[in-house]
Symmetry: D2
Subunit: 335 residues, 4 copies
């Protein structure tokens, strides 16, 4: 961390501020120039309140040099993390997966049918919501425990590992046999939930919040990793902007940017980002071209009767066509 | 809800769609014009997936006419809600309160000292964080249970009701004697937490999320009210925009806009919105002029040594001056 | 346009409003339901002030059904527009072009050298700024007329058509031999400039403003087309969001969304959107995968000494590698 | 400007970069610490391309210390600028004015009638649009030259100075007798127009663009001031955010923030920001409480028949009530 003092700062004021910094266990290196004095803060500067320092009368400006995330930082962990979902299915470090399935689990026939179909098209992981976060308390909230059981049955039948959202710490015991626990965009900064997930060793699919920066996404990954769970998969799913034609704005530059900042795998969800089935194919292909490690797509056998998010679901036939194109684009950019 | 059909829609297609709507328990009123056919959906249209309807081949566009929030809606409850914090202290419907205190509870002397001071200046409710949501897992997370005890002691000594944040359902028993439970911006859509708070009868101070619309804020209030708890206080605390000089952008037009939409009381927090002590006074006065029912301000006896958010805290002397000005502005707009 | 009246509206009020609408040359079709009355406005509703109508006491809500853009609307012009840049080079309707060159024209040797190099790599159009819009009046403002002459010389030598920005109506005569006139993001709603460009028959590359919706982009295209100039090329170049790691957020979903809404060709500029050379390749490939009709990339032979935007420029070698990958991805999605 | 080098930087690389900086006329002060090397750039660093410097292989990060605006900067001009509109009417430095009038000038009777009425209520400057920037080419574009003549007639009759928008350099001669030239939000970065206005000595009311930061607003003021015209009045009129209940989000914290950064006067326009007449009063009062130097309000004698923006106009009676409240709030915060 670097603090630049105002030219008006007296020697005494400077010494007082250095003392305050050292009292927090951080070393200070003073560099007095002709026009300005610069303090270099060395050590664990995460203890220093940067905004407070900046607000002091004699301080011109403060800049954090090192990123506040550590476990997730590529600088300290140059190799890509490979998350092992099952012994056969890995994500990251060159391992690419398509995750597909309905928004909500609705019935035995629905989930088994879709699972078989997307598996035949090339999807290797099954998604489906049992606990659903809905903006309105009056909307369908998911089949809950029963939905989880149907997902586990689909897993048994098709062999596909399952990804499903957890909304509450209380429900954790129900997720014992779930392969990947998803943290939804609205819970990205539910720090209490993140801490509890850090105590498990389950792969966590962490969705970026609608208005969260990449730095905040990485800090939330850090919450999970600080507990000892390094199996974190990041997911870009669109951010909130002023544009209204699309539900959210899919920020695909997040893929190469996160690639630089972190070693964690990165998945893209074009279904929730766009909210419209017609836009899913071009954005899924763009995500593959941008270098995503995985793509998560909503598929429903009967979108018009889906209990939620039918508007953004592909039919199995549309998904089949998309999956082949995704593989083609991926070959074009990796071979 | 209104659905406009495309001119290309056939009679059969129209009948099919009407059937689908009626199957969801909603009546349809068809109005065939020379150029377009309009369907008026009547009844509990909250069951209809508006985006799905809009995505149908033959549908031109869909518009929701009635607001999706009911309990919070002023249309069905024209009178202002007055939340009774204590028999003496009420908020809303003409009852105006200043809530003040430190960001975090740090020690017995700190909280008691600040409480006495802000009370003498005119504050009627004491705020202070015991459980702190921090972006980084490495930052100070609050004194937790011990912090709550110190707050309760300050309450006993000064008689001021206390407002403090709850982050987890598991902690609920600890809040038994807390007067107002705050839901932080990052938990505004932690629906699991909202549902549990709906089962209590405690006043809830619900902060608007950084990137949440007023409609979403009201839908989150609706989650609490749907459980039977009507003691909800809304809090505007700044939204995320592209501007970087201020931490967030305080959306003061939310005050008169919410006033129209809902009967719930509205409080403004200029400290978190601006992130800078120097901006707190002008924005607190602006909030009073815009018609807020309450203003929540961070005050610290020693901002430079505060364990969090020192940059945005006023000193007791600054707060005293501000409180007198707030009362003056409020008189100017109400008398 | 649809207007829904409040249940409280009297017969007389309804008649008064219908009269007001008809006085503006628009027909009204009244549909009285049991619960609500709906007015269908038929004819040239672009004359009706929608916000005013919505603000009337007895009006519940108003919805515009038809898009306010006409010439640019795919509904009235289903076939893709193909803009003929030169007899040999076309853009749109399956014709794909790569536009490359430096941010600013700096010298004879620089522009000729870069032009030859990018042409050899597969670029078919040369970009380069002569008049530069800079946030600061103290920054380099371009070589102006001299820069245009150097571009025209590069065109003569390489045969590549040139694309360069016009900032002022007064400069129009200087652009006589320029092939494509670019309107920069900051001038997207400089309606005076747009009107003058509508009077020419030159191809116009219209960049989306940093905070402009797709609808506004199309309305600005409409300004040009209303003058009779149908040679408009739209350009997505990133929008302003809260994310700060990238300069802007490239909104690639704009490509398929615009494809639906309009018949005009769509180009993507990943250099200005990301502001960082390292992100240009993945985002250019993503743009090709999303279906863009062209990609515009900044290339500089000596980025470190470039007079502007050096940070986002590729070297000729990087561009050569990128161009081959772009062609590969395009084949993957079109063949 | 401060540049922090990566630990991996060699002595030779460091010397090379220092040479490059010095070649641009800027001195470098090197401070080698145990863990990092910091370069302090001293002199006219506005010549240095900060993003390019940051993109260099060996550079960790760069920070601009001094603001890029000079003439507008309060640091170099501590006293408030007072803009003299007429010998009697001043704005800034304690001089507060209410500017009122219709969105568009429509007729002789309309503008004279409104002018007399708002003057009687306490407004001291008359606003009215003759050249109108409209999103759609099919909307009413203003009475143009004829509108200016009507405004000048209203000025002759009432003695009120007039404020009206200029959209094109070509129209400048028509504005000779106009007192204050307004630059609209969409033209805030029309640098060609700003340069020409810098050559006049007319007071300029510069509106903040919908998606422009305060720094950009000040840089645009700088364009005008760099030409020698120091009579710049800044105007906050709402920014674009994700919230849709209000047309834009009025950023009132801009008032105290700009007050710190610059000596120029600051006016607030609540009419365009909110787009709704019902919200104008609370936001105008809030602006006065936040310390604005002036408030600009749209008033129309017949909002329902206004040719543009009728939805946001107050009636003369509503304005009269508002003006008295504004004076009351201003007294509360200044006396």
């Amino acid at each position: 961390m670097i603090a630049v003092l105002k030219p008006s700062a007296t020697q005494q004021q400077m010494e007082h501020i250095c003392q305050w910094i050292r009292a927090q266990g951080v070393e200070v290196h003073v560099s007095k120039g002709q026009y300005q004095t610069i303090l270099g803060l060395i050590g664990d500067t995460s203890r220093i309140d940067m905004e407070l320092l900046e607000s002091l009368e004699i301080v011109e400006s403060v800049k954090r040099i090192s990123e506040p995330f550590k476990s997730a930082n590529r600088k300290f962990h140059p190799d890509d993390t490979v998350v092992e979902i099952t012994p056969d299915i890995k994500l990251g470090g060159g391992h690419f997966q398509i995750i597909a399935g309905p928004c909500s689990v609705e019935s035995h026939d629905q989930i088994i049918g879709i699972a078989k179909s997307v598996s035949a098209s090339g999807a290797t992981m099954l998604r489906g919501g049992a606990f659903k976060p809905r903006t309105s308390p009056y909307d369908f909230q998911g089949l809950k425990a029963e939905g989880l059981e149907l997902l586990l049955e689909a897993k048994k039948i098709t062999g596909m590992p399952i990804v499903t959202e957890i909304m509450s710490v209380e429900d954790l015991p129900l997720f014992e046999n779930v392969d990947v626990l998803q943290v939804g965009a609205r819970n990205m900064q539910n720090f209490d939930l993140l801490k509890h997930l850090g105590e498990t060793r389950k792969p966590i699919l962490l969705k970026r919040g609608l208005a969260n920066t990449l730095k905040e996404l990485l800090m939330s990954a850090e919450y999970i990793m600080a507990g000892g769970n390094e199996n974190v998969i990041l997911c870009e799913r669109g951010i909130r902007t002023f544009e209204t034609y699309t539900r959210n704005t899919l920020d695909l530059s997040a893929v190469p940017m996160l690639r630089e900042l972190t070693h964690l795998p990165i998945v893209v969800d074009p279904s929730h980002a766009t909210g419209t089935a017609r836009l899913v194919e071009p954005m899924a292909l763009a995500a593959a071209a941008a270098g995503a490690d995985g793509i998560m797509v909503e598929v429903h056998n009967d979108p018009i009767h889906a209990l939620c998010d039918g508007a953004q679901s592909l039919t199995p036939a549309q998904f089949d066509s998309l999956a082949q194109k995704i593989f083609k684009v991926r070959r074009a950019v990796t071979e």
